[in-house]
Symmetry: none
Subunit: 216 residues, 4 copies
């Protein structure tokens, strides 16, 4: 017996009694969006497997049948979260990447923007990195493909900067992108609204840190 740990009180599922409260505006959303919203919060707080469909529908104020009227299965709800995050993030990134400024400036802008939107949607970020692997293989493939497209677009931005001489060629572009996004994607594990820094301040520091490493 390795150690006598205090036994968890209840079942291993529903690890926290977490309930989600919705604002007036959120309650007015169409049921499908309301369910995704509620599910995102619960998945972020407890994990996908540990969140029961029952918890989701209770938090949304409907019954299971209603959920299964809008989604084919629980996986589908999770997939919807990804779909939402990825589509939004990709859209924003591309708008900046395809915009004006030199490549280094645009990269910095992308970093700043993605930090802002990550902080604004922390739950989605958390769910994304903790639970993607729980999707059925087929859907994981789709998600990974979308992510790769995102990654490749940013890599092209870095390569453009390298060719233009505003970013160092010493670091392979691929690795540079991983480096940049690594720091950002981990924000969910430590950021807190009540921390000493605002999202903006974090974004500025990160822009600087990232860019100074990538300058020639």
């Amino acid at each position: 017996m390795t150690r006598a740990l205090p036994k968890p009180a209840g079942s291993s599922k529903a690890r926290t009694g977490k309930t989600v409260r919705l604002s007036k505006a959120e309650q007015a959303l169409p049921l499908q969006q309301r369910l995704v919203l509620v599910a995102t919060r619960l998945f972020a707080a407890q994990g996908y497997d540990a969140t029961s469909v029952q918890q989701i529908v209770e938090a949304a104020g409907v019954t299971k049948g209603a959920l299964y009227h809008h989604f084919t299965c629980k996986d589908d709800v999770l997939y919807e979260v990804y779909h939402h995050v990825l589509a939004e993030q990709t859209r924003r990134m591309e708008e900046i990447a395809d915009g004006p400024g030199d490549a280094a400036q645009r990269l910095a802008a992308v970093v700043g923007d993605v930090i802002a939107s990550s902080v604004a949607n922390l739950d989605e970020l958390i769910v994304f990195f903790r639970s993607m692997h729980l999707l059925p293989e087929a859907q994981q493939k789709t998600v990974r493909a979308e992510r790769r497209r995102y990654h490749l677009r940013v890599r092209r931005l870095v390569e453009e900067g390298q060719r233009a001489g505003v970013l160092t060629t010493e670091v392979p572009a691929d690795l540079a992108v991983h480096f940049v996004y690594g720091a950002i994607h981990q924000i969910g594990t430590w950021y807190s609204d009540s921390g000493p820094l605002t999202a903006d301040e974090i974004a500025q520091h990160f822009e600087r840190l990232v860019l100074s490493g990538l300058r020639p």
Copy 2:
């Protein structure tokens, strides 16, 4: 079991038929370590909730009774994975942080070392970030406390470097640490043995990227 019928495909548990094969050396490990090892691989591949106790004991070649002899419950196995990772990483980091060289050099060495050991134990890294939130609150607290101690030690190293003038004071030490480790902790999401760069090369690039950002 009367007869082995093909399992229904849709089962949300056992998402992959993943089985784990152990090397000769690993098979010779004491049962407790063997179980943790096998569990780590399964948790990394399928997630904690999606891995059944049955799968773990089958992969380790024993029966449930044996597992429950060594661990109080399934949570305890997961906790053991963390204990193992954290203890080892902390030991290595402190050895370097308390060693010779200026603060910036030691920080670079820490970064290099933690990347090396992360790549060498990818499964543990993956489980750590994906499944920590699934532990009962009590154990999460313990783990978070250990992580904070680790974080604080590295922060002290950064502060030392700032005071010594070898690291910039423009970035808060706390944020600097988050930045450094963010990139490292995400390695599990993209690193592959068959990728273009060796762990060593990645480590060198990351050291450079990190340090150039933190130089005054």
Copy 3:
């Protein structure tokens, strides 16, 4: 429904993906008959319980509301199948039984006719014997009463033959009827359109087999 995900294989309902195609003439039937027709085929192919109301209405090209407008409940659809089979079979049998010829000749004619109409409506026959027990007790009673009436009429025909000396008195009339219909009612379990014998040939053989056993 957000997206069409492949259905999990193991679902105990919808055992086969059976869909029913209707001929032009059948599509022109009034909705109520069309629903009964479609339901008969689905019940025969999958069983009553395994066929969902959804499948029925989809196959008929309408929505649930339409079905519930014509039938009080799913049971009612099944009952309608019986009603249809029984009324038709009784009508034909009585026409022959009340017609010309000696009792043995009329019995033979009944056998021939019932085989012909059973083969022509195999699905109804199958549903009849597989699913009658699934009706609510009250409706089962009604159906059983109708069947008994049918049975008694044929028994009277046999008794008439016995009195007239054209059928043996060694076999109780009741048992004789069970014997005769046993063979016929099982046709659904082995008959195939592509088998070596036509319905007519089967009918002729069965007439001979039955009658030679019942001759004095």
Copy 4:
């Protein structure tokens, strides 16, 4: 609205509140056999789909987990019923068919025996013909193959009789077998312990009816 039928009181499942009572001897059976026994009775009374696993385990005095420890799924329990019936019936038939006497005598003996054993195990007979089609396709195939083997053996017996001149060649052997067994397999739909004839009397009459039809 076709007709106003009295609505079924409860859910469509568990159509009857049927409970099964076990004799002392039956209660002493190993759990696996006890479950099959209880399930056979419930399936015969209510149908397979309409019988819940809950009903089975309650009648057997255990919990669901116990059932799933011995069977992989509900289908498996049904399959076990078939396996049991078929193996037993085949064994008995082959013993007689391979025994002494001319082919007609052996055929008569087979008929007598199968009636006796059908009456002795009416529930199994009923389940067999009503619910076989509810098995997954793979298992249906197996069952059909076993049945075909049985059918072929009896057909060979008929053919032997035809060659020996003790059975008519006017009726194709295949059809003859279908005819013989048709009557027998329907026994479940009308036989009652409290009816006017004993199983023995029925058997004797059927032997006579069948054989006189098949004599040259």
